[in-house]
Amino acid sequence: MEALIELRNVGKWYAAGRPVVQQVDLAVYRGQGLAIRGRNGSGKTTLLKLIAGITRPSAGAVRRAPELTVGYAPERFPPVRFRAEEYLAHLGRIRRIPKPELERRIQELMDLFQLHAAGPITHFSKGMTQKVNLMQAVLARPDVLVLDEPLSGLDAGSQADFARLLAKFKQEGAAIVMTGHEPEFADAWADRTVVIRYGRLEELQERGAGAAAQAETSDWICNQWGVN
């Protein structure tokens, strides 16, 4: 199976400091769930940025499939003075999503996340802001979804909605790369779990591969989070 994103002997360091990420070999495949676990400061976020193409490696190479689209949700969503629909519409225009399709997609996401609040995002609660963060990441139905601790601030209901969305994305063939402090959730949907320690990948747990594992994962998520 051809990798959507492949990191070969990748290292990253800033100025003259110690490497944040070093000698990382990792591949992200279509339809795969990849969980990245590690302590605070272990290099998880930098590794996600390398995968999302936000930061360039200081050493090694990152190869991407042609025409690859990526969605990215940072750990801390920045406060913006737009309403949620305006913000999503603005990003959709940057993506050049046709207007009717964009309007449909925004409405679909607003319904899915049950976000029907008026007013600017700066007035939102933490959970509502996190919903907007996730909505912008999945807006363009990306091939690879890169999520930095996406469950932070979400209540149980919203986590279930998000689990349903993740399962749907995986079934549609998107790859999901995610960090998080909820091991039971990560273990549930991830086909592979990578542990990063001091910038190095030290452990690799394989749950299996292929459609059977994906289906099993999706079923588990649905049962665990009460999703039909």
Binding site: I54, Y72, F77, P78, L91
Partner: protein, 204 residues
Amino acid sequence: MLLYTARPNPVMGSYAASSVLLYFVSAWIGTGFCGAIGEAQEHIAAVHTGSVRKYLIGKTMAVFACGLLLSLAALIYPVAAGSFDERVRAGEWLTALLAHVELAVLGGLAALILSQPVIRKGSLTAAMLLLVLILSIARDGILKEIGGGFAPLFIPLPPVAPVVDRLINPDADLSMQNAAVWIWPLVYGGVLYVLYLRLAEKKM
């Protein structure tokens, strides 16, 4: 508008003043663009744009577009308001346009390259930018005081002083030196732009 509260005014002298003002205003706009967008929002925008480079180019183009619009406003307003003591000739207008655009671009670029994420310590950026802007404008006056031997120290600074000087003392001849006054800021701006893109990409 404040520049033209008294009238009539000399054409090129007034344009020299407005171009210096625009240099500072463009730097302020550039700083505003960098400060208004947090790091996480920059990351989101870069992903949606398709690449960090595309995002950075878009951001700089927005700063330049503001500078261009303000340049046109600075050129047209005094003519429309009848603030000059004589009619503006086409050559003067073109010279003033080039000077305004060059200073707007250099001011914006100076702000971008002396801002985060290129320079991580936010407290230093404003002071460094102000110092660069003042030194680059006052170059000739400072060199007169401390001696021409220090001129090489000013080479890394944006070459705006000769442009402003040429507006105040318009020279009709088209010698090589005269052309260099206008071409060098473009070359300098191009090099600074490439440097900014590389540094900003590396620091992301």
